[in-house]
């Protein structure tokens, strides 16, 4: 004890300093091992684990009748454990072997298998034989692991609805993307614990977590109806019309179920990478366009519901309407529709009347027109179960000017998606009840049990059933007597509306660029389906919805109704339009009038007499021709062969007219071709045998139908 007090104090001080340091270490250990222990342990484990993914089997996408639209087929991937390869010292040789089997450059393979990672994919979705070959070589550090590849058995059919899934089993577009969680399932994995150099740790964690396979989806789409729609689109895009795009959508009006959704241009989801990404999306839910006259259905419904107009109200169409400083022309301009009832205006698709009705509605009940537009679902996504749905474009209500009201009344100055329009028209067909459109009917588990059923959802009652009924009748007139005549389907009551909208471009409407469309439903008395056909930028003339889209609609809807076994029914007033029985026309030339008439009528044909007398000297059509029952047979009569009267041959073709005149002993002097129109001498003139009759023939003027 030689050191002094001060030195002792210093010793004690330094001791406590060092002791404090060591105590800190203990505290730090406690912090790391207790407070952060679990977290660090987890991190340490993850750090050491190498995971080989095992893909889950992606669920099937079925159509409503359980036909497979998208399936997963077994395939393999080639994976590599770089460390094992490095240990084997055969990296170059392995790269060369695999490269030659898979037909990829050996140096690319080498680069992958020499990376400083735990696991690498060399190639995904390898063909069975190639994978088998590699498997048989038993190369060190090379694994062949099963995975799944998506296959779309129908190729491009319903491609924009289905979308597609990428190599990692992830839905990228369409239903595949929207229902990815359901379809993809949970991938499993093989977990192996590795040391830092990539050696498997003996007796270490080595687990197999099996994948959880995905659920299957049953769509509302009907493969056959989809096919019908696509067939018609294919026809139209391969015709001289050659539009930029064309779409068809068919909806079950009672449930909102989409039965078909087809677009051109399309793509093959099996090879989606070979198509521009612009065609991957679904234009029916994504793209907007100005609906044109098809939108008059909405105007009609709103005006009728609010009592602004009734079908028999009289209007006058001067061929245009002035709204403030602006003028809206009728589509028949420079002609006009003149006096017409509202019902006729619908039939004629008369622009000034609809503009007037829209303005009147706005004037008497401000804001109501827009309320209906919104109630019908415009300006909102419909809520369909697809990603990337468009909302459409409505002019903000506070910026609305009378001219806007007038143009929206005829379907310009508003942009809608095809889906919005078909959903809105569906509400009219469905007694005013707006249904939420949907594409998925059921979700099935791995074993095919239904785990979820999507029921039809009514969004709201937009118009009363009585108004809906009135609108439907007006639309039926459009098809039976008006601009939609080309959509008429014998045996079914069809209601619909044509549309020919000018396309808006930068700085206004573009000359010569139209969207021809037709939307309609059938049967009118108990609607089953609503169908919209849009043809975007058809080439040449005519570009009208009534001439381009209505015939497509007719073919599609006719086939679909027959396919759905919707009973054929005939309008009481139109018995003559029953599908007529074929009848062979008998030979009655030279017979007495009464016996000829009796024989013809017995066969179910009708008779029209031409000329005077009791003896038949000519008949049109000739004997042996097969005609539908109810066809009128024209019998030409004569009393005195020496003093023939010039017969009325108007409407006959040149050869028919020649035969008839010859029977009378007269000679034809034709002018022009087509159907007989003007005769000289006029019918009924008594002439001498052998006289010439001059007849002018005309080609029937092409019937041009309005927008």
């Amino acid at each position: 004890m030689v050191i002094n007090i001060n030195a002792r104090k210093r010793l004690v001080f330094v001791f406590f300093l060092l002791a404090a340091g060591l105590t800190t270490v203990i505290l730090r250990l406690a912090w790391l091992q207790f407070v952060r222990g679990a977290e660090l342990q987890e991190k340490a484990l993850n750090n050491r684990l190498n995971v080989m993914p095992v893909a889950a089997q992606r669920g099937v996408i079925y159509d409503r009748n359980r036909h497979e639209l998208a399936i997963s087929i077994a395939s393999d991937y080639i994976g590599a454990f770089p460390q094992e390869i490095k240990d084997s010292g055969r990296a170059e040789e392995i790269a060369a072997t695999i490269g030659s089997i898979l037909d990829i450059p050996a140096k690319d393979v080498l680069e992958k298998i020499t990376r400083n990672t735990g696991f690498e994919f060399i190639e995904r979705q390898v063909e069975f034989e190639k994978a088998q070959k590699i498997k048989n070589l038993k190369l060190p550090g090379i694994e062949v692991v099963p995975e799944n590849r998506r296959y779309y058995p129908n190729g491009p059919l319903a491609a924009q609805v289905l979308g597609f899934a990428g190599v990692d089993n992830q839905g990228l577009e369409g239903i595949e993307a929207m229902y990815d969680k359901q379809l993809s399932g949970e991938p499993g994995k093989i977990v192996i614990e590795f040391d830092a150099l990539g050696h498997e740790i003996p007796r270490a964690t080595h687990r197999y977590i099996p994948p959880q396979n995905g659920n299957s989806i049953v769509l509302t789409i009907d493969q056959t109806i989809q096919y019908i729609a696509e067939r018609e689109l294919e026809k139209i895009v391969n015709s001289p019309t050659d539009p930029l795009k064309a779409n068809i959508i068919i909806m079950d009006s009672k449930t909102g179920e989409i039965l078909a959704m087809a677009s051109r241009p399309a793509f093959d989801p099996n090879n989606f990478g070979k198509y521009p990404s612009s065609v991957w999306g679904n234009p029916l839910v994504r793209d907007v366009y100005e609906p044109g006259s098809c939108f008059k259905i909405i105007t009609t419904a709103a005006a009728l519901e609010e009592g602004i107009v009734s079908p028999n109200d009289s209007f006058y169409c001067p061929g245009y309407i002035k709204v403030g400083p602006d003028t809206i022309n009728c589509w028949v301009s420079p002609m006009s529709h003149g006096s017409e009832t509202f019902a006729e205006a619908v039939k004629n698709s008369c622009n000034p009347v609809f503009a007037k009705v829209a303005l009147k509605l706005e004037e008497e009940k401000p804001g109501k027109f827009y309320d209906y537009i919104k109630a019908f679902g415009f300006g909102h996504p419909t809520g369909i179960d697809l990603t990337g749905e468009g909302t459409g474009l409505l002019i903000p209500e506070q910026q609305l000017k009378p001219i806007n009201i007038a143009t929206i009344g005829i379907g310009q100055g508003i942009a809608v998606t095809p889906l919005q329009l078909v959903t809105a028209v569906s509400a009219v067909a469905n007694g005013g009840r707006l249904m939420r459109p949907h594409l998925v009917k059921e979700v099935l588990d791995e074993d095919g049990n239904v785990i979820k059923k999507i029921k039809p959802t009514e969004i709201r009652q937009v118009i009363s059933p009585a108004t809906a009924q009135k609108v439907a009748e007006l639309l039926e007139n459009v098809v039976s007597k008006g601009t939609g005549r080309n959509a008429y389907i014998p045996g079914y009551r069809v209601g619909g509306k044509t549309g020919t909208a000018q396309k808006a471009g930068p700085g206004g409407y573009m000359d010569g660029k139209y969207v021809a469309s037709f939307v309609g439903f059938a049967p009118v008395n108990n609607p089953r389906i609503v169908c919209l056909v849009t043809i975007d930028e058809p080439k040449g003339y005519p570009y009208y919805g009534g001439t381009l889209a209505a015939p497509v609609f007719k073919r599609v809807v006719s086939d679909v109704l027959h396919y759905l076994k919707v009973p054929v029914q005939y309008d009481e007033n139109k018995k003559d339009e029953q599908p007529p029985k074929p009848v062979t026309v008998p030979e009655v030339v030279g017979r007495e009038l009464s016996s000829a008439k009796a024989e013809i009528e017995k066969l179910g044909l009708k008779v029209r007499f031409e000329g005077q007398g009791d003896k038949v000297i000519a008949q049109i059509p000739k004997s042996g021709a097969v005609v539908p029952a109810g066809t009128k047979i024209i019998l030409y009569l004569q009393s005195n062969p020496n003093k023939p009267r010039v017969p009325d041959v108007s409407g006959l073709r040149v050869t028919e007219a020649a035969q008839v005149l010859e029977a009378y002993g007269l000679t034809l002097e034709p002018q022009g071709t087509g159907q007989a129109a003007e005769q000289n001498p006029v019918p009924g003139t008594i002439v001498s045998p052998g006289n010439k009759v001059r007849i002018k023939f005309y080609e029937t003027a092409r019937e041009v139908l309005g927008p």
Binding site: R8, R10, F15, L22, V25, I26, L29, L32, R48, D195
Partner: protein
């Protein structure tokens, strides 16, 4: 003031034995799998560690019988030789991990920096025992020691070996504190020391990078933060009882220097908090008994020598455990008595032999 040598300090013998034993077991556990894989001999490091321990124990036995008073006379020559060795290592040293720290051939190589630690402590104790009265004078008293420290540290730093350098500087500083240097001087020196460390970090880019990684190791997980992170993962995996001896995973190439500088991390993983805390506690016992020896030493030289040896041991342990637990930036320094390493183990045991020798003369 000579007395007859008495008995050894039981606690020092006990804690040294425990730490040495745990060290040998852990060196085997940490290295067996990898040395079996890399060198084809699971016992490679164990065998060598046993040899070093044996040699160290011989050295210790010799020192505990060798009257420490003779060391006072040997102090200056030993220091001189050590400094020459330090110079030699800079010229003809054997490189490993980017540092030239070894002298000699193959397994006969040793680290002069381990020698200088001991030589420095002996010299300081001897010199301070005679000159402590002049210590209050900054220039004449403190100055020469600081000059010596700077020279020695600079030589070690040149290897480069920041860890040992800091340990030597810290030990010198604390010995000067014990010897009675002026508090204001000590305070200024502390500031200067911090400044020097900062300068050392700034001047060497690899130290700067390590320091940045120390502040946020997870951001540099694959770079300079790798060692710290793997070490923390090992410690965290241990929990209370550890994964069990030999059951640790992080030693499988994850933790670098697993049987040397980072042996404490593997120990924490396999033996858990209980085992790790036990190691720290035995170091505490060593420090306590070391200072107790200093307290009761028969003369000033013995007192300073005991304090110096204890301080050197404690500072190395603190730096090592501070690094392993992520509280200090990574510097290569072993955990005395526990880590694998020939020179370190031998000279640690020799130091403890001296400490035990002093304890034999300590009064009650």
């Amino acid at each position: 003031m000579r007395r007859r040598a008495g008995t050894l300090d039981f606690w020092i013998v006990l804690s040294t034995s425990v730490l040495l034993g745990m060290g040998i077991i852990m060196v085997f556990s940490a290295s067996a799998l990898t040395s079996s894989y890399n060198l084809g001999d699971a016992f490679f490091y164990l065998k060598r560690q046993l040899i070093w321990a044996f040699l160290g124990l011989i050295g210790m036995s010799f020192m505990l019988k060798f009257d420490y008073h003779y060391l006072k006379r040997l102090a200056a020559p030993v220091l001189g030789i050590s400094i020459i060795l330090l110079l030699l290592v800079l010229i003809i040293g054997i490189s490993s991990h980017g540092s030239a720290r070894w002298l000699g051939v193959g397994s006969l190589s040793f680290q002069p920096s381990e020698v200088i630690k001991l030589a420095m402590v002996i010299f300081l104790a001897a010199s301070l025992a005679d000159n402590r009265h002049r210590l209050k004078n900054f220039i004449q008293g403190l100055g020469p020691y600081l000059a010596l420290m700077v020279v020695v540290c600079a030589l070690i730093l040149a290897q480069p070996d920041l860890g040992t350098s800091v340990a030597v500087a810290g030990t010198t500083y604390l010995m000067l504190t014990v010897a009675g240097a002026d508090r204001r001087h000590l305070f200024m020196l502390a500031l200067a020391g911090v400044g020097a460390v900062v300068l050392a970090i700034i001047l060497a880019p690899y130290r700067m990078a390590r320091f940045t990684a120390f502040l946020d190791p997870w951001a540099y997980a694959q770079g300079y933060g790798y060692q710290t992170i793997q070490s923390l993962l090992a410690i965290g995996s241990g929990g209370l009882f550890g994964t069990g001896l030999g059951q640790g995973r992080q030693k499988l190439y994850y933790v670098p220097e697993k049987h040397t500088d980072f042996i404490f991390a593997i120990l924490s993983e396999e033996l858990g908090f209980i085992g790790a805390a036990l190691v720290v506690i035995f170091f505490l016992v060593l420090v306590w008994r070391g200072f107790n020896t200093a307290f009761k030493a028969p003369d000033t030289f013995g007192s300073f020598l005991a304090a110096g040896l204890t301080i050197m041991l404690a500072i190395q342990a603190l730096i090592n455990m501070g690094v392993v637990t992520g509280m200090l930036p990574v510097t290569g320094i072993t955990l005395p008595l526990v880590s694998y390493g020939g020179s370190s183990l031998i000279f640690s045991l020799v130091g403890i032999g001296i400490l035990l020798n002093i304890s034999r003369y300590a009064g009650s």
